[in-house]
């Protein structure tokens, strides 16, 4: 902290490249900036001198965990190395987001990212800017963003601070996404005290573009112009580098330096429309969004990707506060900005399009020969670096790993030993308690705050298993998306937990009839400096990479979020997995709700006594222990084949996957969707039938006339189908033969009352 307390010891005048060359011994606050001794030594080595203050700021940002993936890189490699060969992948990991070919000349890009820490400090703005950031990632690929999703994790629902966070986060996601005109088509809401001081706010965006119009970030072509588009640059989100503040800040102004960004969705909407017009007219050579690390990241990454040099005059950047210094301009995380590389001939057209949309556009530099990024401040070089040393050649760590000391103990506490409900009345009470619990209850108090209709292509959204979007009004080609993640399963077994998250998202997509083709992920973990967390991380990435290989769904991109902890305690390891599926004809999608009287209900797949990590153990016994349900990817695939073929042949009237809360939860949701009753009978133990969480299962409703053909199809794909009952549109009740009957009104009251009561 010495630097901020005694700013005088920093060079008071502009620290230029020549000043740095001439004063090699000036002490620099690299440790305060988060650089290790050997990292600082490497910087000096790369430059052959000490870095300028501005360069130091840039290295500290680009070599941070967030930007360099230094702890995760060695593990993430597996996603590439073990990637299944598919011909749908047009752009793989490494670009801003992966791109997959969905046919009909269209390509889809999608990615999930975290905005966890800002959302705890200022929930509304943190969540809002999280949406803004991921939308720009998708835009950068050349795509029109067409939908968003929001996997969320909060602390205990009844904790006094949770209401603040939930209300702010949900309003922020809605406030930004609604104003951008992007339908919200799904997400997750999970409450668990492990997220109390560290909620997880992940945001997913999906976009579509002509397959031959993919944009890349490379700054190519000597003499091409570097154009900054969008909002002005302010002292926002300076975070770590604020220790470099020089005397231009008065005493005590430290607190005033905001780490909070304020989102401006209106500007982002205009930025989107103007960029899309630039793409359509073929005016862009390369483009990159400004996210974390702002201009630092955008200039170094575009130059590095283009294997070019670049020259930028910083004083041309439109500022919110005239007193900003070079390192602040470079580190600013002001939102709603993009960096485009355009040819000099096209520059007037680019500026005209920006003007049409009321978007600020400024030429700030040019692509140069060679491989130096030179940044000047009123003509004086303050940065002269090889861009790849910042963007690609950051440190890589093999962090120590250790299986948690209490892992065996945890795994030995099986939930299968817990006392179970015995009578029909007890089962009914259990069911009502469970569906009213914050994790299993109806989420419409949240999802009603999101626009699901805008753009007019939403085929399925909340509360369906996956969001489904029509891509083309001519061919009716469509996509389905689901995100899933189960921190409790992953805590019990990170390898299996990551696979279970993938399996669930895959299943949710398949249930709608879409064919799963690609994966994105957001890996939310504790501190990588904790060997036990690192072990969890390694297990989870290996599990995910191997499951993706088996299911032939490559990981196309994602995000790692470390340092998620409340006090010293890490969150449950929470890999959130997003799966993308395609429909040749989206009119064939299968909805979840029961509708037709007399339809026959089947459970597909096999149930067994698997209760550890389950919602039942958690809600009814506040218990976490044992081993999560067994992963069986071959069965997941077989189940998906039935669901996809069944949809294509119009054999399935309704389908709903089985996951948290087991069959009981699926029955309740399927009945309440259109307020239709069902009569069910089990040959096995009713408690296990209702609440066990064995995987690779789904509930389906089949018209009586189709039953024979459907069961034959199940046999053909090797999927077990068990007839459990029928749909009854007149009863207005869910009846479990020999156990209990409960009216839909009673179910609805329990299911829908919880969130309004907690958060209104």
């Amino acid at each position: 902290m010495s630097a901020s307390q005694a700013p005088g010891h920093l060079a008071p005048v502009l620290d230029t490249v020549s000043a740095a060359t001439n004063s090699p011994d000036v002490e620099q606050p690299y440790r305060e900036l988060g650089l290790a001794d050997d990292e600082y030594a490497r910087v000096r080595d790369i430059l052959g001198r000490r870095p300028t203050q501005t360069e130091l700021a840039m290295y500290s940002i680009m070599w941070s965990e967030h930007c360099s993936y230094k702890s995760s890189k060695v593990h993430l490699r597996q996603f590439g190395e073990k990637a299944p060969k598919t011909d749908v992948l047009l752009v793989g990991m490494g670009e801003n987001a992966g791109v997959v070919d969905v046919g009909d000349g269209m390509a889809v890009t999608f990615k999930v990212e975290s905005h966890n820490h800002p959302s705890y400090i200022e929930p509304y703005q943190g969540a809002a800017t999280g949406v803004g950031g991921i939308v720009r990632d998708i835009l950068t690929m050349g795509a029109r963003p067409i939908a968003v999703m929001d996997p969320l994790r909060f602390g205990a629902a009844d904790h006094p601070d949770t209401k603040r966070v939930v209300n702010g986060v949900v309003a922020g996601i809605g406030g930004y996404g609604n104003c951008l005109g992007l339908p919200n088509i799904g997400g997750e809401v999970v409450f668990d005290s492990s997220y109390q001081g560290n909620p997880l706010v992940n945001a997913l965006c999906v976009g579509v573009m002509p397959a031959d119009r993919i944009q890349l970030s490379a700054a190519k072509g000597v003499g091409n112009i570097v154009v900054l588009l969008g909002a002005t640059t302010g002292r926002a989100g300076l975070g770590g580098v604020s220790v470099l503040a020089s005397a231009s800040f008065e005493e005590g102004a430290e607190d005033a330096r905001p780490t909070v960004q304020v989102g401006d969705p209106f500007t982002e909407k205009l930025l989107i429309e103007s960029c899309l017009e630039l793409f359509e007219q073929g005016l862009v050579v390369g483009i990159q969004d400004l996210g974390g690390a702002g201009l630092t990241c955008a200039t170094t990454e575009t130059a590095a990707a283009g294997r070019s040099g670049m020259r930028v005059e910083l004083s041309t950047v439109p500022l919110r506060e005239a007193s900003m210094e070079p390192h602040e301009i470079l580190a600013s995380e002001s939102q709603e900005r993009m960096l485009a590389i355009v040819t000099p001939e096209n520059l007037p057209k680019v500026l005209a399009i920006a003007d049409k949309w009321g978007v600020l556009a400024t030429a700030i530099g040019e692509v140069t020969d060679g491989d130096r990024l030179v940044i000047t401040w009123h003509g004086d070089p303050v940065v002269d670096v090889p861009p790849r040393s910042l963007a690609d050649e950051g440190p890589v760590y093999h962090r120590p790993m250790a299986r948690p000391a209490d892992q065996d103990e945890l795994n030995s506490q099986h939930a299968e030993r817990l006392p179970r409900p015995r009578t029909g009345a007890e089962l009914k009470r259990t069911l009502l308690t469970m569906i009213a619990s914050p994790n299993l209850c109806d989420k419409s108090w949240i999802t009603e705050q999101y626009d699901r209709y805008v753009l007019g292509n939403t085929v399925l959204a909340q509360p369906e298993d996956a969001g489904v979007i029509r891509l083309s009004e001519e061919s009716y080609r469509g996509i389905a998306l689901s995100t899933d993640g189960n921190g409790r399963y992953t805590k019990l077994d990170p390898y299996a937990g990551a696979q279970l998250a993938l399996a669930e998202a895959y299943r949710n997509v398949a249930v709608t009839g879409a064919r799963p083709i690609a994966v994105t992920n957001c890996l939310n973990f504790g501190s990588p400096e904790d060997p036990e967390v690192m072990w969890q991380f390694a297990q989870a990435t290996t599990g995910l990479a191997e499951a993706c290989q088996t299911l032939r769904t490559p990981v196309t991109g994602g995000n790692v979020s470390f340092y998620n902890q409340t006090g010293d305690t890490a969150i449950h390891p929470t890999p959130v997995i997003g799966v993308l599926g395609v429909f040749d004809d989206v009119r064939q999608r299968t909805p979840m709700g029961l509708r037709n009287n007399g339809d026959v209900l089947f459970v597909l797949g096999t149930n067994s006594e698997e209760l550890s990590g389950s919602e039942w153990a958690s809600i009814m016994h506040n218990h976490l222990g044992g081993r999560p349900p067994r992963v069986d990817l071959a069965r997941e695939e077989a189940l998906a084949n039935v669901l996809i073929a069944g949809a294509q042949e119009s054999l399935i009237a309704a389908a709903h996957d089985l996951s948290g809360g087991g069959l009981a939860q699926a029955l309740v949701e399927s009945c309440l969707r259109y307020n239709v009753g069902a009569r069910v009978r089990f040959n096995e133990d009713a408690f296990l039938a209702l609440f066990a969480e064995s995987t690779a299962r789904a509930l389906v409703a089949i018209r009586p006339a189709d039953v024979k053909q459907f069961t034959k199809m199940c046999e053909r794909f090797g999927v077990r189908s068990t007839r459990i009952g029928t749909v009854d549109t007149s009863s207005k009740a869910l009846e479990i033969a020999g156990q209990f009957s409960v009216s839909l009104d009673e179910l609805r009251a329990a299911f829908e009352g919880t969130l309004p009561a907690l958060f209104n």
Binding site: A171, G174, L180, S444, Y450, Y453, V454
Partner: protein, 225 residues
Amino acid sequence: MSPKVGVVTFPGSLDDRDALRAVRISGAEPIPLWHKDASLHGVDAVVLPGGFSYGDYLRAGAIARFSPVMTTIVEQARQGLPVLGICNGFQVLCEAHLLPGALARNSHLHFRNRDQRLRIEATNTSWTNGYSAGQEIVIPVKNGEGRYVADERTLDELEARGQIVARYLGSNPNGSLRDIAGISNEAGNVVGVMPHPEHAVEALTGPSTDGLVIFTSVLRKLVAA
């Protein structure tokens, strides 16, 4: 030649493409209009679509009503041009004083998106003549500032003159006075509705196709004229 229906895009308009699609499905020719262009390019009717013009930052519709295209629309609406404002468009029409009253923040303070039951109260407007009086329909509502407010006298006048076009049934989604979901001007050519008929024109993507009648109504009116 089928009638032309224009849809205005303001900066921040969001449901403009949806409105264009609805116009097309209804059988009219959809014509995009741009806020800076004062010309209506010969359209026979105009839709002001939903969205967040200018981010809704000051008040919904407050800035959009000053755009060049609005000057023309106000003029021609006074001479009988059929104009429909949906959600943000309704807000613009109130701000432009083509319709009385105003739309204020929802009483529960949340943005709310749900499938809403409505009753059509007036079938003599340019935009609702295809419904039967008292018909119940379901179309999506989605807004944060959808609470219709006006003073008592204005409300009484609206009732008396049959200018209340639609009312919410079941629970009122935003605290709108007298459950008002839509109103018209006295002549019936200018209509503002808070719910979104353009999101209920296809069975695949909407909760119903009840919204299509709004767009076929104006077509009928134009063809008859």
